[in-house]
C-alpha cells in the first residue's frame, strides 16, 4: 500500500467535486480574520488564490521576486485559455475537454483532477469577463474562439497573442482590490528561501528582501506554493530569467514529494538559438499552427543550399517541400500535440533537413493562409477579380490582426519579415508537467503546504495541451484552493498567530544564512552563469527531447560532479547583506543542480516513452512513443533523503474508470 493518498472523493466522476465541496469543512467569517495564509508566487495560480482567499476574509501575504505581482511569468503566455463552453456548437463538453486533456497527457494524469479542471473551465471565462478582461470578440459582440493542438474543436479563448498578460492583469486587479482593503500584504522583490515546519505542519517561510538583503521570518497557518515550473534547469528555455524551482525544492527538502520531474514539455514553435551569447529562448505561440504550415525541403541538397545561404525558402516549389506533420499525421496535421510536433521536427533536422545555419530549424509558413484569407476577404468586399498582389495585401492584414504582435516580435529578434519569408522555428523547453505531488485538495505531503499551477504535477500527465496552463492556474487559484485550504484551516480557528521566535524558525533561518555564507565562501573560480550554462548543456543533450539509459547515467554523474564543483568554486561578488543579483542567481542554480540529478534519475527509472518523455529504447518501428501501461501507469513521487541519488520512489497508481486507456494516435 502506497503512502500516497490521493483523497479522490467517491462517487461518479461528474459529481465528485460538487459532493466534495458540500462535505468539506468551512470556516466562519469571524474566524477567517484570525487566520493567516502565505502565497508564494503571484502568477495566475498564486494571484488568483491570494485574491480569492483574501476576499473570503483570510489575512494573506504574497511573495514574489519581481518588483510587482503583475510581472510573474504567466504574463508571457500568448495563445489562449481553454474552456468547454461549446459556444461554437462544435460538440464540445466537459467530458471532451477532460478526455482530450487525459489523452493529450498520454494517460499519466489523475482522472478526478482533470475532470474538475474541465468542469470549472467555463466559469473561469465568466469570471474573467466580469473582471474586465478584454478577450477577442466577433462582430456580433460575442466571444471568439480558436483551435489548439491535440483537439478537434475550437475551445480556446484569447486576447490577441497576449492572453496570459490579460488574464494575469485580471488576477492582479483582483489582488489590488484586496490590497486596497488591507486584506493582502504584498511582499514584492522578496524570495522564499525555506519552508518552516512546526509540529510537522507548514507554518511559515524564511524570505529574503532582495533590496536590503535582510532575512525575514513570516508565519502563517497555511502556505500555498504557486511558484511556477523548473524549465530553467535547462538554462535556455522560454521561462523568464528569474523563474526558478527554489520554493518547490525547499519544500521538497522539507518533506514534500516531488512528482514526475522528467515530464518536461519541449515546445515545437520557438525561435531557434542564434549563438553562444543566447540568454533565453522566445516562444512563438502554438496558435500560429492554426494558420502556419510546417515544412522542410524534401531534398537534402536544397537544405544544404539553404544552410549555405545560396537558396531562399520562397524559391523552393511546392513539390519539393516536405510538410512532414501533414504527411505523418493526416488527421491532425500541423495541430498535433506539442510533444509529437517537437519530435517530428527533431527527426527531420537530425536527418539533415534542418534549415538555418546551425541545421536546427524548420519552416513555419503563412503563405497559404495569407492567400486563403485574402481571397475570402476580396470576395466578401466585392473585389471579384482581385489580383494576387491585392489578395496578398488583404490576407496579410488579416494575419496581422490575428498574430501581429508575434510577427513583430519575430522580426525584431531574427531581422526577417515573416509576412514575406517563412518563419524559422525549433523546439525549446517551455513547461514542466512535473512538480510537487499533491492530493485532490492540492495539498502536498506536508500538511498545510499546498501547491498550485505549474508548481504542482496534477493535471497534465506527461504532456500538456496548448492553452491548458492558464486554465489550470486559474482553476487552482480561483476555484479549488479557496475551498480546500478552508477545509484544512477549519482545525486552526483557535490556534492564534503563529510565533516566529520559535526554535523551528530559529533553526530554519540559521540554515538559510549558513548556506549563503557557504556559497559566498567559494573559491571564486567561475561565475554562477558558468555553472548554469554547463548544467543546461548536460540537461539538453542527455535529458532533452530523447533520452537513453547510457546518457541518463552519464548525466547523473556529471551533474553531481558539477554540483560539487559549484559549491567549492563559485564566485559571488559583492556583499551578501545587500542587493545582490549574483547571490540571487546562485541560490537558484544551487537548487537546479539538485533537481537536475533527480530529473535524470526519474527519466532513467521510467522505462517507457510517454508524452514529453521519450526513451530511445522504447519506440515503435515508425519512431512513435511506446508506452508501457502494465508497468508504468503510475505517478513517480520522490521522497528527499539527502543527495538526489538517494531519493526514494513512491508510486501513485493511476486508475482510469471513465476513459479507455488507448495508444495515443493523431494519424
Amino acid at each position: 500500500m502506497s503512502v500516497l493518498d490521493s483523497k479522490v472523493p467517491k462517487g461518479p466522476l461528474d459529481q465528485k467535486w460538487t459532493a466534495h465541496k458540500n462535505k468539506i469543512n468551512l470556516v466562519n467569517p469571524a474566524n477567517k480574520r484570525k487566520i493567516d495564509v502565505i502565497v508564494v508566487g503571484t502568477g495566475l495560480a498564486g494571484g488568483a488564490a491570494a485574491a480569492s482567499l483574501a476576499e473570503l476574509g483570510y489575512n494573506v501575504k504574497t511573495f514574489c521576486y519581481q518588483d510587482s505581482p503583475r510581472r510573474a511569468h504567466s504574463i508571457a503566455a500568448q495563445g489562449g485559455i481553454n474552456a468547454s463552453k461549446n459556444y461554437q456548437g462544435d460538440g464540445d463538453s466537459n467530458y471532451r475537454l477532460f478526455y482530450d486533456t487525459v489523452k493529450g497527457g498520454d494517460y499519466r494524469s489523475r482522472e478526478a483532477n482533470v475532470y474538475r479542471l474541465a468542469e470549472v473551465s467555463g466559469n473561469i471565462i465568466d469570471q474573467c469577463v466580469a473582471q474586465g478582461v478584454p478577450f477577442a470578440r466577433e462582430y456580433g459582440g460575442q466571444l471568439d474562439n480558436r483551435s489548439f493542438g491535440g483537439v478537434l474543436v475550437s475551445r480556446t479563448f484569447y486576447a490577441k497573442g497576449q492572453t496570459g498578460q490579460q488574464l494575469l492583469l485580471g488576477a492582479y486587479s483582483a489582488m489590488n482590490r484586496q490590497i486596497n482593503r488591507g486584506k493582502i500584504t504584498p511582499y514584492n522583490r522578496h524570495e522564499m528561501l525555506d519552508l518552516v515546519l512546526v509540529g510537522g505542519k507548514a507554518r511559515g517561510i524564511i524570505a529574503r528582501d532582495l533590496v536590503t538583503g535582510a532575512i525575514e521570518r513570516h508565519s502563517a497557518h497555511a502556505v500555498v506554493l504557486a511558484s511556477g515550473g523548473y524549465g530553467n534547469v535547462f538554462f535556455l528555455s522560454t521561462n523568464a530569467m528569474g523563474s526558478n524551482v527554489m520554493a518547490a525544492w525547499r519544500a521538497h527538502r522539507r518533506g514534500a514529494y516531488f512528482a514526475n520531474p522528467c515530464f518536461t514539455q519541449i515546445h515545437p514553435t520557438c525561435i531557434p538559438v542564434s549563438g553562444d551569447h543566447q540568454s533565453k529562448l522566445t516562444l512563438m505561440s502554438e496558435s500560429l499552427r492554426n494558420d502556419g504550415r510546417i515544412w522542410v525541403p524534401a531534398k537534402k541538397e536544397d537544405a544544404d543550399a539553404i544552410r549555405a545561404g545560396k537558396l531562399k525558402p520562397t524559391q523552393i516549389v511546392e513539390a519539393d517541400r516536405d510538410y512532414f506533420l501533414e504527411r505523418r499525421y493526416p488527421a491532425f496535421g500541423n495541430l498535433v500535440p506539442r510533444d509529437v510536433a517537437s519530435r517530428a521536427a527533431k527527426e527531420r533536422c537530425d536527418a539533415g533537413f534542418g534549415v538555418n545555419k546551425t541545421g536546427e530549424a524548420v519552416y513555419l509558413d503563412f503563405d497559404a493562409a495569407i492567400m486563403r484569407y485574402g481571397k475570402e476577404k476580396a470576395l466578401i468586399s466585392g473585389q471579384k477579380d482581385a489580383s494576387d498582389i491585392e489578395v496578398r495585401v488583404l490576407g496579410e492584414a488579416i494575419i496581422a490582426a490575428k498574430y501581429g504582435n508575434l510577427f513583430q516580435m519575430y522580426e525584431k529578434i531574427v531581422d526577417e519579415n515573416p509576412y514575406k519569408t517563412p518563419m524559422m522555428i525549433y523546439p525549446a523547453v517551455h513547461y514542466t508537467m512535473g512538480g510537487l505531488w499533491v492530493d485532490y485538495n492540492l495539498q502536498t505531503t506536508i500538511p498545510g503546504c499546498f501547491a498550485a499551477g505549474e508548481a504542482n504535477f496534477s493535471d497534465h500527465g506527461a504532456n500538456r495541451l496548448g492553452a491548458s496552463a492558464l486554465m489550470q492556474g486559474l482553476a487552482d487559484g480561483y476555484f479549488v484552493l479557496p475551498s480546500t485550504v478552508g477545509d484544512y484551516l477549519a482545525d486552526d480557528i483557535a490556534t492564534g498567530t503563529i510565533p516566529t521566535d520559535s526554535p523551528e524558525f530559529e533553526a530554519a533561518e540559521k540554515e538559510v544564512t549558513d548556506r549563503m555564507a557557504k556559497m559566498k565562501a567559494g573559491k571564486g573560480l567561475h561565475s554562477v552563469d558558468y555553472y548554469h550554462k554547463k548544467l543546461g548543456k548536460i540537461m539538453w543533450n542527455k535529458c532533452g527531447m530523447s533520452r537513453n539509459e547510457k546518457e541518463l547515467n552519464e548525466a547523473i554523474e556529471e551533474i553531481a560532479a558539477l554540483r560539487a564543483d559549484f559549491w567549492e568554486n563559485v564566485k559571488i561578488p559583492g556583499d551578501i547583506n545587500t542587493k545582490n543579483q549574483e547571490l540571487e542567481k546562485a541560490g537558484r542554480v544551487a537548487d537546479f543542480l539538485e533537481l537536475g540529478e533527480l530529473f535524470a534519475k526519474d527519466a532513467l527509472t521510467r522505462n517507457e516513452s510517454c508524452g514529453g518523455h521519450f526513451r530511445e529504447e522504447y519506440q515503435t518501428p515508425e519512431g512513435e512513443a511506446l508506452r508501457d501501461d502494465e508497468n508504468f501507469k503510475f505517478v513517480s513521487a520522490w521522497e528527499y533523503k539527502g543527495a538526489p541519488k538517494d531519493a526514494v520512489l513512491h508510486k501513485e497508481e493511476l486508475v482510469y474508470e471513465n476513459i479507455e486507456v488507448k495508444t495515443r494516435s493523431y494519424k
Binding site: 519581481q66 466580469a130 470578440r137 530569467m241
Partner: protein
Amino acid sequence: MKLTLKIWRQDSANSKGKMQTYPIDGIEGDMSFLEMLDVLNEGLINKGETPVEFDHDCREGICGSCSLQINGEPHGPDRMVTTCQLHMRSFKDGDTIAIEPFRAKAFPVIKDLIVDRSAFDRIQQSGGYVSVNTSGNTLDANAIPINKQDADSAFAAAACIGCGACVAACKNASAMLFTSAKVSQYALLPQGQVEATERVENMVRQMDLEGFGNCTNTGACEIECPKGISLENIARLNREFLSANIKG
C-alpha cells in the same frame, strides 16, 4: 563590434551615483541589448569587479521589468520595443552608448540601473479593478455582449506593460499615459461603468500623491511607449475626470 559604454553606477538609494566608462568588445548584432550587458557583467565578475545591476525577467517584451534610458531614450533608439527586444544591430562599431536608469522623482533609484516603480502598483491599487468577487457566481460570459471595436480599443489600452517608459520620456515625469490606459480599459467596457466615477477620481488622486508631474500634451510618452499606447487614452481620462467632477 567594439563599443564604449557609459553606465550609471549607484550603490544604493541613499548613496551618490556617477557615470562610469567601460570599453567592450566582441559584440554581435544578433545579441539583445541585455545580452550585451550579460557579456559585460561576466567580464566584470571574472575581473573581480561588481557587476552592473539592472531589472529584467521575461526578455520577450511583455513583463515590463526592463527599463534603461539608452542614449537619452527610454528603451533605446528603436520604436515599439522594450530594452530586452532591442538588438545590437541597432548600433555600429565604435559607438558610445550612455546607459542610465529611468529618471523620475516618483521612481527612486534602488541600485545602479534599477528603479523603484511601486508607485504604479499603488495607482492601480487605488481603483484599477472591477469590484467583482472571484467566486465565479457571475453571468455567463456571452451574456455581456461587447461591440468588437470597444473590445479591441479596451484591449489596446490594456496592453500597457507598466514599464514606466512614458514617465521617463516625459519632461515633467507625468504618469498620465499609464494611468489613462488603465482608466480607459474599464471606461470602454460595460463591466467598468458602475465604479467609473470613483475609479478615475481615486487613480488620479493617487497619481498626484506619488509625485508624478503634470501632463502638458507633448506626446513624448506615446512615441517612446514600447506597446504603442495612444494619447487618445489621455483625452479619455480627461473626459472621465471632468464628468466625474460634474457628477461628484
